[in-house]
């Protein structure tokens, strides 16, 4: 019945095209500075601390942060903000514990710093495999975000977005390595922060409005399961064409006593929201007489104060249910977010791009300021999307761009293009970290010697091409999952595999190469197996009943980080340190 198309918006096409061309031109211009290994992997260590700090933000504020968190807040309220809190908290560990030793000990890759004391091929191999797997897990949500963005932006299917990101990133990374990646991330970080601040100001300026039936707001029509939804989300008919009895309110607006609140300050905005009844959208599924499953989006009236507490979403509902395992799951996720940041290879290698330890610290402080500011804005963006009446109820990742659309097509084009740019920046960093692990660590392990500079760069470029292709395929396979949810898994795996080994290598004199390698292997394999056999994976990836899952809860960090640490310590104690071996 309803044509499920989005008309081509030429403003969006123009802005998007300009961004893409600018990125490619920048990469082309900077390409000549990346012919050596130091230039390709570490931008010659000549990036200034301020540029590097904003580039940290550009690298870190991925699709998960911008699209995923805003989407989670738009649908579930405070639960999405929990990710903001956890993601930022991790930077304290990075700043106070690992930043300076990493800069001092490392050269190009995560394995360099880990292996500085040992010179072990086993440690190099374990760290390289860990870097590749963590990067791949982190790549998935970025590509999912790219696919989600391209649909309303250019009216194209998601696979085009995934393919476009894959191609552009491969060009960026293969042509100019860390130099262009840094500048892409710097520009993207600055643009993302500026535009989100503008968007938040517009949300506060708009305030809240009382529900008043009127013309449907512009929003892309989407299939919600087997039921077709109109732009304003009134469900019109079932799969066989019969009229359905669903008549949902096409708003999603806050209900207050007045007609309009008018502009609100940041505190008043939250106060009014807390005191109001809010229509939060839920998707319910039901079987008809023939047994066909129908999904339907419908608003559920919830008091604002309830939405501003944890425990609304399926992921965190256990906080209110009293289930011990659900609470353990929550603690485990928050632990993974806290310890994961300092374990992400694509973040750690950015410390090599500055000239000294002091610059590493200063750039982290700039990064924390920029990232923290953004995460404060996420609460306003998410609540603005929840109450703005422009949600796509079948895709939470689209909440922020559609919120921008409610303020006009130019802002929508800018926000969507920057969001696409966001994906480009993060994917570039991930592909660079992964290709470095292949070109330096794996090849050195396999060949038993270090290839010359040009060979390393050539291998890294081929590896970047392969990783870009893998990322595209994985992005299409996982396209229906929330980006931030997927990043939670990446943090669990990174923290379990890398953090115990990193701390042992940096701070424990008794650590041995066998112990370090064991910590990585045990942490990596146990967290990976746990995630793949968890309830979330059964329900959201395999489409199987969650009750059949093998693991008692979904987030493994609480078990697998100590497991990797204990394994590493025991093996270290059972083997001789290097000085005694010599």
């Amino acid at each position: 019945m309803l044509a499920n198309t989005t008309p081509t918006d030429w403003v969006s096409v123009g802005v998007f095209g300009a961004f893409t061309v600018a990125v490619l031109v920048l990469s082309s211009l900077l390409g000549r500075r990346a012919s050596s290994a130091k230039g390709y992997f570490a931008a010659h260590g000549q990036i200034g601390w301020f540029v590097n700090g904003i580039a940290f933000a550009g690298d870190y504020l991925s699709a998960a942060s911008f699209l995923g968190i805003c989407g989670l807040i738009a649908f579930w309220g405070y639960d999405g903000f929990l990710y903001s809190i956890g993601y930022l908290a991790g930077w304290i560990v990075a700043l106070l514990v690992v930043a300076e030793p990493i800069r001092r000990l490392g050269k190009y890759t995560f394995a360099d710093a880990l292996n500085a004391r040992f010179g072990s091929r086993l440690v190099t191999l374990a760290a390289a495999v860990s870097t590749l797997l963590v990067s791949l897990f982190y790549l998935i949500p970025q590509m999912v975000g790219a696919g989600a963005l391209i649909k309303p932006l250019l009216g194209l299917p998601s696979w085009v977005g995934v393919g476009l990101v894959g191609v552009v990133v491969t060009v960026i990374v293969t042509t100019a390595g860390m130099v262009s990646t840094t500048w892409v991330q710097f520009i993207k970080g600055g643009l993302l922060l500026s535009l989100c601040a503008i968007l938040a100001a517009l949300i506060l300026g708009r305030g809240f409005e009382v529900h008043a039936p009127g013309p449907a707001r512009e929003a892309p029509a989407r299939n919600v399961g087997s039921v077709v939804a109109l732009p304003a989300w009134a469900v019109m008919e079932g799969p066989s064409g019969e009229a359905a009895n669903f008549a949902v309110d096409p708003d999603g607006l806050v209900r207050t006593e007045g007609a309009r609140t008018g502009p609100l300050g940041p505190i008043d905005f939250l106060r009014v929201f807390s005191a109001s009844d809010v229509a939060a959208w839920r998707t319910i599924t039901a079987k008809d007489e023939a047994g066909a499953v129908h999904s339907m989006a419908t608003p559920e009236t919830i008091h604002g104060d309830v939405l501003l507490q944890p425990g609304n979403s399926p992921t965190f509902r256990g906080l209110r249910s009293g289930s011990i395992l659900d609470r353990v799951d929550f603690v485990s996720l928050m632990l993974a977010l806290f310890l994961g940041t300092a374990s992400l290879p694509h973040i750690l290698i950015r410390y090599y791009t500055v000239s000294d330890v002091r610059s590493a610290r200063l750039s982290t402080v700039v990064g924390i300021g920029a990232i923290g500011s953004f995460y404060i804005l996420t609460l306003y963006l998410g609540l603005g999307a929840m109450t703005g009446g422009a949600l796509d109820t079948s895709d939470s990742n689209m909440s922020a761009p559609l919120l921008a659309r409610s303020f006009g097509s130019v802002l929508f084009a800018l926000i969507s293009s920057v969001a696409f740019f966001t994906v480009l920046g993060t994917v570039s960093g991930l592909v660079l970290a992964g290709s470095g692990a292949v070109a330096r660590d794996l090849v050195i392990t396999v060949l038993g010697r270090t290839p010359d500079d040009h060979t390393q760069v050539r291998i890294a470029r081929i590896a970047a091409l392969a990783l870009g292709t893998c990322a595209m395929i994985l992005g299409l396979l996982f396209k229906d999952l929330n980006a931030s949810f997927l990043v939670g898994w990446a943090f669990n795996i990174a923290a379990s595999a890398n953090l115990p080994a990193l701390l042992m290598a940096l701070f424990w004199k008794r650590a041995t190469k066998e112990g370090i390698a064991t910590a990585i292997i045990v942490g990596l394999s146990s967290s990976l197996v746990w995630v793949l056999l968890s309830k979330d994976a059964f329900e959201k990836v395999y489409g199987l009943p969650g009750a059949d899952a093998w693991m008692p809860f979904s987030q493994p960090a609480l078990v697998t980080i100590p497991l990797g640490a204990v394994a590493g310590i025991l093996v270290s104690l059972a083997t001789r340190p290097r000085t005694q071996q010599a």
Partner: protein, 102 residues
């Protein structure tokens, strides 16, 4: 000159003993300084862990407490969440004053 002329026999001892003591003293002082500045680093980290861990602990053990209205009609969950973000930046600024990590 006289000292210079007579010093060779004594010099190694005279120089060595004080130098070793000075070296040990310097090493001990450096070690103490190192511990002292590391103590500040770990204190900052502990402060944040306490604030972050406290938030998680309350969310898990007494979630109703987070619904308490505390400032300007805003509940504790939002205030604590914002405070954690601001505290991270304050700690980052404080960390700028720490000497380089040993």
């Amino acid at each position: 000159m006289g000292m210079a002329g007579t010093s060779p026999g004594f010099a190694p001892i005279l120089r060595t003993v004080p130098d070793q003591t000075a070296a040990r003293s310097s090493a001990n002082t450096s070690h103490r300084h190192h511990h002292r500045r590391d103590w500040k680093r770990w204190a900052l980290l502990s402060l944040y862990i306490a604030a972050y861990g406290g938030f998680i602990g309350v969310a898990v053990s007494a979630p109703a407490l987070l619904a308490t209205t505390v400032i300007g009609g805003i509940n504790l969950a939002v205030v604590w969440g914002f405070a954690l973000i601001v505290l991270a930046f304050v700690i980052a600024l404080a960390a700028l004053r720490l000497p380089e990590q040993g």
